[in-house]
């Protein structure tokens, strides 16, 4: 009878096994080079993670935020930027930007009160911009105080259709691409926090880069079939930021889905994803005939280039519900290394 009672008790009493509370100590050399990988995770499941890779030693550490802080990174890790030894990880659907020590991965602070943050750009030590989706404002923050200090209202944009994305700065002007159901690049005076210009490009410019010649590059995805906003052949645009005009348009086939325009460290070679991986000299007048790397059933989702070595890192989302894979290629296209990170690796950040 006693045995029966014991068995019944074991059955009855809850025993969900949790393993929280353990903080792991990391101590990355301050001088070491490294690559952070933001793994978005699945929307609404809160399984975003942060990975760290040392390109010299090929050491990989996954889930570093969780392991160092004993808490989750959140829902959809969208992007990361580094300034003065602090990494700022933008976690979109958690409405937060975490500030972490890039050597220990420990949190040093956070910015909250955001709508749906996408990217963060530093204007100075005490001023940064955070773009949003589903909001027609760019948030101005004081990173030192982790405070929202103001907003830049975007004209002709509703909350529901709000979308501001990547930012690059030349001089005192900041350029921002507006993506979801949008077709324009904004020019913002960072001294007055006002919009001083708009440039219409194709449908849904996904990303933005500034090359060694001071030219802006953006690439559109063309929208989708039956979209009321329009559906067109996507294109790569070279833009003169001074005159704020399109200098050259490189068109793709309708139905293509190019994204992730990136530059190498020298800023003279442009890379992007369009099913395959493509590379082009920034002075070229036409898109190459052959890709830099062929797709092999892979779902290329993120791209970066090592600013020092020129190695190309490509994120493969695989089936979007398992650990994604990173392929590291030399600039000549030779595979150097490959490794698994978190679910849906989407963006990178070099330290």
């Amino acid at each position: 009878m006693r045995r029966l009672l014991l068995i019944l008790t074991l059955f009855a009493v809850g025993c969900m096994e949790w393993d929280y509370g353990l903080e792991e100590d990391f101590d990355i050399e301050a001088s070491a080079r490294g690559l952070f990988i933001c793994n978005e995770g699945n929307f609404q499941y809160g399984n975003a993670t942060l990975s760290y890779y040392d390109p010299d030693t090929k050491r990989l550490e996954n889930e570093v935020f969780y392991r160092a802080n004993a808490m989750k990174l959140g829902d959809v890790a969208q992007s990361m930027t580094i300034r003065d030894g602090i990494g700022w990880v933008v976690v979109n659907n958690s409405h937060v930007v975490f500030a972490i020590d890039i050597n220990t991965f420990k949190e040093v602070g956070r910015i909250t009160g955001l709508t749906s943050p996408r990217y963060m750009h530093f204007v100075s030590d005490e001023k940064a911009y955070i773009t949003q989706i589903w909001d027609n404002r760019i948030f101005i923050v004081n990173p030192k105080r982790y405070e929202i200090t103001g907003y830049i209202d975007i004209p002709n944009m509703t909350m529901e259709q709000g979308s501001t994305e990547q930012m690059v700065q030349k001089g005192k002007y900041l350029y921002v691409n507006c993506w979801s159901y949008q077709n324009r690049i904004l020019k913002i005076d960072t001294e007055s926090d006002t919009i001083v210009g708009e440039l219409e490009v194709g449908i849904q410019p996904t990303s933005l880069a500034l090359d060694c010649n001071g030219k802006l590059w953006t690439i559109t995805d063309g929208g989708y079939d039956s979209s009321p906003y329009g559906y067109e052949a996507p294109a790569l645009y070279r833009i003169d930021p001074e005159n704020f005009t399109i200098e050259h348009t490189f068109s793709f086939k309708k139905g293509d889905a190019p994204s992730e325009v990136q530059l190498n460290g020298a800023g003279d070679t442009l890379y992007w994803i369009n099913d395959d991986i493509w590379a082009m000299d920034v002075t070229a007048e036409r898109v190459p005939v052959r890709p830099f790397l062929d797709s092999r059933g892979t779902i290329y989702y993120g791209l970066t280039v090592d600013p020092k070595s020129g190695d190309v890192y490509i994120a493969d989302a695989v089936d979007y519900t398992q650990q994604g894979k990173i392929y590291r290629y030399s600039k000549e296209g030779e595979l150097i290394n490959e490794f698994y990170v978190g679910v849906i690796p989407g963006s990178f950040c070099w330290r």
């Binding site: 909250t112 993506w179 989708y224 695989v318 089936d319």
Partner: protein, 689 residues
């Protein structure tokens, strides 16, 4: 001899009709049949219905449904059946899946009419109050082909039936529980020899702001220079979790007493629910309003006519659903601006005809044809177009869904039964390949009533309207999911009704599902469905039930279920990097089990319910990373009820404790679940005479 045969046939026919057809209780006035639904019923061992040849069916009797009066059908199924309930929180989306399949592989009907949302393909069981359901049964795997197509995992049949009231009757129950929960239940009935009328009302409100320790995030303590000097896991309340649901169900049944019965059911839902914030959400609940509202009307009229050797029936119905989803945020000036404002409308017309004919007691033939005509309007977003004018992102589609079946059932002796079903379906202009199913059963031993069953079927599921047309992302090039299923099992029952009975069954199943549809992200920022996986789902289901009457006043009943459900991705690798092949599907537990025990003594009833889910993976590759798995959990609920009979009324007082051991658990990543909570119910049933 002929008369005896005819009488026996009548009995079989009436029994099967009463168990399966829409308005089973309309047969109540046929002597004896009603007892099959007696709340004290133990399994009927002797009379194997010809209609149930080879069928694997789990029936929930009214006692189980009555026990969980304040619960949704999702909770009832979790504690009483072997199927997996995936719950996103209290009064939040809850889906069920059989045997390692997905929620859209479960076909659900209410009084014969489909409940599956034609846009989503699945059913939210948290929207179905147990108080409105009088009969519920699960048709596992192949057995679902008897009723419908598309049930690659199985089918859930829910129905109402009349009370056998003479004159007026009223029942009112008031529930008051933790987290400011108020549940009200009212039923008014009127009946005479021809008419049975019933009005049921359920109103549930809860702030649903249960406390829990949030281990997914920490709160920071800063010094004046904004350096972190301390961190802790906050004790939070479930944020943005309140709900207010109102349901009303009107029923009218008329018996011509010349073989015809007519029934009317009309169910209206007004639901207003906040969507709880994730555990990893660092936003303030005062800044966001995330809410879903639903208005649904469902109406069904049924007509059945019974003759000595044939039966015909017809049904007609209409469904109108309006869904609104609003996600707003405070702009800092008190104005809540829409981030998302999506609307959808579904209008469905339904018609069905059934006919049955028997030859002697050994043959039963059935023909059935049903039609659902859906009209769907979906608006996901309001936008400003490039030209500056306003536009809508959405779709407007109509689709007819026809399903016809022919079946023949043959029981040459009491030791053998064979049944064959052929089903054909039309979705829009797409005709499905033939859906065949074959069932066989046989009594191996009269002693112990040992019965062996086996069945095989092919099945198809057509993509839902959102799968095909949703903007953005709908994929009109999707193929239907298809599969083969095999079942074999054995059951026994011993004992008698008066003092002791024990019954049980074990079923092995094996199914292959090809072209499994999954919504995946795209590089354009939205999700899109694709035919991704081939899945091999197999396993074993075991159930047992015992009923012991120790004396006239002491009664113990224990029911248990266990299922082992490997559900393996057996398709081709997407690429060399794909590590999901050969792995268990995410969020499908390999093991589930539940036990419920009910002890009655005089006017006291003690109930204990327990369920278990094994570890679930969150990734298709089954990685055991920190976010890659959900730990297993046990859940225990108890209740104690006392009834009192007064001259003027019957009273009942019941206390329930849910999550008895205050388990910290998750059903889905980042969705908080309540700890221990309590509710008391006071019920009154006045005596008018």
């Amino acid at each position: 001899m002929l008369e005896i045969e005819m009488t026996r046939f009548k009995s079989i026919l009436l029994t099967t009709l009463s168990m399966v057809v829409l308005l089973p209780a309309l047969h109540a006035q046929e002597e004896g049949v009603w007892r099959h639904y007696d709340i004290d019923a133990v399994p009927i061992h002797g009379a194997r219905s010809i209609k149930e040849i080879g069928v694997k069916e789990t029936k929930l009797d009214s006692i189980v449904l009555k026990e969980g009066i304040s619960l949704s059908m999702a909770d009832i199924l979790a504690f009483n059946t072997p199927i997996f309930v995936k719950s996103y929180g209290r009064a939040t989306l809850s889906t069920v899946s059989f045997r390692g399949t997905s929620p859209s592989h479960t076909q659900v009907s209410w009084n014969g009419m489909k409940l599956n949302n034609p846009m989503l393909g699945m059913t939210d069981f948290s929207m179905i109050p147990a108080y409105f359901i009088d009969d519920a049964s699960l048709l596992h795997g192949t057995s679902s082909v008897n009723e419908t197509g598309g049930g690659l995992g199985g089918a859930v049949k829910l129905s109402t039936r009349p009370t056998q009231t003479e004159g007026f009757a009223l029942q009112y129950i008031q529930g008051i529980g933790s987290f400011n929960t108020f549940d009200e239940f009212l039923r008014l009935t009127y009946g005479n020899k021809r008419w049975q009328l019933s009005t049921r009302v359920v109103h549930s409100y809860s702030a649903n702001d249960f406390e829990y320790r949030n281990h997914d995030k920490k709160e920071n303590i800063y010094d004046e220079n904004m350096n972190i000097i301390g961190q802790y896991y906050p004790i939070e309340r479930n944020r943005s979790g309140s709900f207010k649901d109102f349901h009303i169900l009107q029923e009218a049944y008329y018996n011509t007493r010349r073989g015809s019965r007519i029934g009317l059911n009309a169910w209206y839902i007004d639901s207003n629910r906040e969507l709880p914030m994730l555990t990893v959400d660092h936003g303030a609940d005062t800044e966001f309003d995330n809410r879903q509202r639903e208005h649904t009307f469902r109406g069904v009229i049924t007509w059945d006519h019974l003759h000595s050797d044939w039966k015909v029936g017809a049904k007609a119905g209409y469904v109108n659903t309006r869904l609104a989803y609003d996600y707003k945020r405070d702009l800092g000036n008190g104005i809540m601006a829409h981030m998302t404002s999506s609307r959808s409308r579904v209008n469905t017309l339904y018609a069905q005809g059934d006919g049955e004919y028997c030859i002697g007691s050994k043959w039963l033939f059935n023909a059935s044809l049903s039609a659902h005509q859906h009209f769907v309007y979906s608006r996901d977003k309001n936008i400003i177009l490039q030209q500056g004018n306003k536009g809508i992102v959405g779709y407007n589609q109509a689709r007819i869904e026809l399903s016809g079946s022919l079946s023949a059932k043959w029981r040459p002796t009491e030791y053998l039964g064979i049944s064959a079903v052929l089903r054909e379906e039309l979705f829009g202009t797409e005709l499905s390949p033939l859906i065949p199913a074959l069932f066989i059963d046989g009594r191996l031993s009269k002693r112990g009533n040992v019965i062996a069953k086996a069945s095989i079927s092919r099945n198809y599921r057509y993509p839902s309207l959102n799968d095909l047309y949703f903007l953005p992302g709908g994929n009109p090039n999707l193929r239907s999911e298809s599969g083969w299923s095999y079942d074999a099992g054995i059951s026994f029952s011993v004992g008698n009704r008066e003092s002791f009975s024990l019954s049980g069954s074990a079923t092995w199943f094996d199914s292959y599902i090809n072209d499994w549809i999954i919504w995946l992200p795209t590089t354009k920022g939205f999700f899109s469905p694709r035919n991704v996986k081939d899945v091999h789902a197999y396993g074993v289901e075991i159930d047992a039930s015992t009923d012991i009457r120790l004396n006239d006043n002491l009664h113990l009943r224990v029911d248990g279920n266990y299922s082992w459900t490997p559900s393996i991705n057996c398709g081709e690798k997407i690429s060399d990097a794909d590590r999901s092949v050969g792995k268990q599907l995410p969020y499908v537990p390999r093991h589930t089990a539940n036990i419920s025990g009910r002890l009655s003594w005089h006017r006291w009833t003690f109930l204990y319910k327990w369920c278990y889910y094994s570890e679930r993976f969150t990734m298709s590759s089954n990685d055991l990373s920190l976010t890659g798995k959900l730990p297993p959990y046990f859940m225990s609920n108890i209740s104690l009820e006392r009834t009192v009979s007064l001259k003027w009324a019957d009273l009942s007082l019941k206390g329930s404790v849910n999550n008895l051991f205050n388990e910290e658990y998750l059903s889905v990543l980042s969705r908080p679940m309540p700890g221990i909570n309590f509710e008391i119910f006071i019920g009154i049933t006045p005596r008018w005479r």
